[in-house]
């Protein structure tokens, strides 16, 4: 997941649409939870959950198999987008939805970046 920070902060789309974005996203991939902290449009840290109580703004959680389909180079219908996955019951989206919707373009770019880099996540 450390690669995600590097890839995101070098990605032209993420830099463009991340302007002024600040939030903490909890990404749940099966039993693994990751806290992705974004500060002023850059990923400041990506940390695996370690048992400590932590706060986050919004969370996207789904089965590892769902995220694996999402991260295929050409994902199948209903697995190709976070909103599609939520609408079709593959993942949940919860928490402070104002934060989620306010940052939606950047969040979506961040989540799809592993498609372009193998062995990430």
């Amino acid at each position: 997941m450390e690669q995600l920070r590097q890839i995101a902060n070098a990605d032209a789309l993420a830099r463009r649409w991340g302007k002024n974005c600040t939030f903490v996203m909890l990404l749940g991939v099966g039993d693994e939870n990751y806290f992705i902290r974004v500060q002023d449009g850059a990923v400041a840290s990506v940390e695996a959950a370690d048992g400590r109580i932590r706060s986050w703004d919004f969370a996207l959680r789904g089965a590892a198999s769902a995220w694996q389909k999402f991260w295929e180079p050409v994902p199948p219908p209903t697995f190709h987008d976070p909103i599609a996955m939520r609408a079709c019951g593959h993942i949940t989206i919860e928490g402070n939805l104002q934060k989620f919707f306010s940052n939606i373009l950047y969040v979506k770019r961040l989540l799809e970046l592993p498609r372009t880099a193998r062995d990430v996540a």
Partner: protein, 282 residues
């Protein structure tokens, strides 16, 4: 010589009496022959049909016309809009389409609409079958399956351009060329405050036609339907349920396309549209 590429598309304005008062309506057109009146999606505008308007294979036999609905694109809201909420209904939508068709003196046009346009052409086929030659529903279904609270599209604490584009970006197929994807999103980013949400009132709340879907007579008004496989707002399954309820309707599922076939990937869309247009032309 400048080297500029001048397109054959011409844009004009008309002042049209519709919805009880004058509205300034913008439309673009190209070509000659069978009138093909094109309806854009909720929260966007007629620019979605830019590639169609520029395609000589289509404009050779069809007069392609794409207008911006009031409050959309270059069609301004009416005087007094600043104290009103915009809300689209079935009745208003039908009145608008018939008024534009009449104003342009179109003789039984083919009406092709996408999303909300794909829904309203079903109402058109049911209630005004003799006013049109046939209808083409893109991303067309008789019903909707709301998957989010549309009030998120218009709030002072969420940027409308970001959230409108962000909510529709997933309706575009992942294989879509980047330039066409981002142009499609740009149209959404330029929508007026509350307009996308106002259109969705028709799409998700008021405009369901399933209780009357079997009243469509395809002998009087043929119904063609084209649905992209990546659309989860109007899914292939929803189009299939709709088509099966309309005796004689012809549905084709489009591979590698989503909710905006005409603007997200014209070449892929064209492969599915041309057989329909050939069928109509005879």
């Amino acid at each position: 010589m400048s080297g500029a590429k001048i397109e054959p598309v011409v844009g004009r304005y008309m002042t049209l009496e519709v919805w009880g008062r004058p509205h300034r309506i913008y439309w673009e057109e190209a070509g000659a022959g069978v009138p093909l009146l094109c309806l854009h999606t909720a929260g966007s505008d007629g620019r979605q049909y830019r590639a169609l308007l520029n395609d000589g294979d289509i404009t050779r036999d069809f007069r392609v016309i794409a207008f911006d609905m009031p409050w959309h694109g270059k069609s301004s809201p009416p005087a007094g809009w600043e104290v009103e909420d915009y809300t689209l209904t079935t009745q208003k939508y039908l009145e608008l389409i018939l008024a534009v068709s009449s104003a342009l003196d179109l003789d039984a046009p083919v009406v092709m609409g996408c999303s909300i346009g794909g829904r309203v052409v079903l109402h058109l086929a049911r209630r005004h079958p003799d006013a049109v030659r046939c209808v083409i529903g893109l991303q067309s279904a008789g019903m909707a399956n709301p998957y989010y609270d549309t009030t998120w599209l218009y709030r002072p604490d969420v940027h409308g351009a970001h959230v409108c584009a962000g909510m529709v970006s997933g309706l575009i197929a992942p294989t879509t060329p980047s330039d066409q994807r981002w142009e499609t999103l740009w149209h959404y980013m330029q929508g007026g405050p509350g307009v996308f949400e106002g259109d969705l009132h028709f799409y998700t709340v008021e405009g369901d036609i399933m209780d009357h879907i079997d009243e469509i007579d395809t002998a009087r008004c043929p119904v063609y339907m084209l649905t992209g496989e990546y659309d989860f707002s109007c899914s292939p399954e929803m189009s299939k349920i709709t088509a099966e309820a309309i005796p004689g309707a012809k549905l084709q599922i489009m591979k590698g396309l989503g909710h905006f076939p005409m603007s997200e990937d014209h070449e892929s869309f064209k492969a599915y549209l041309m057989p329909v247009l050939d069928d109509i032309r005879g």
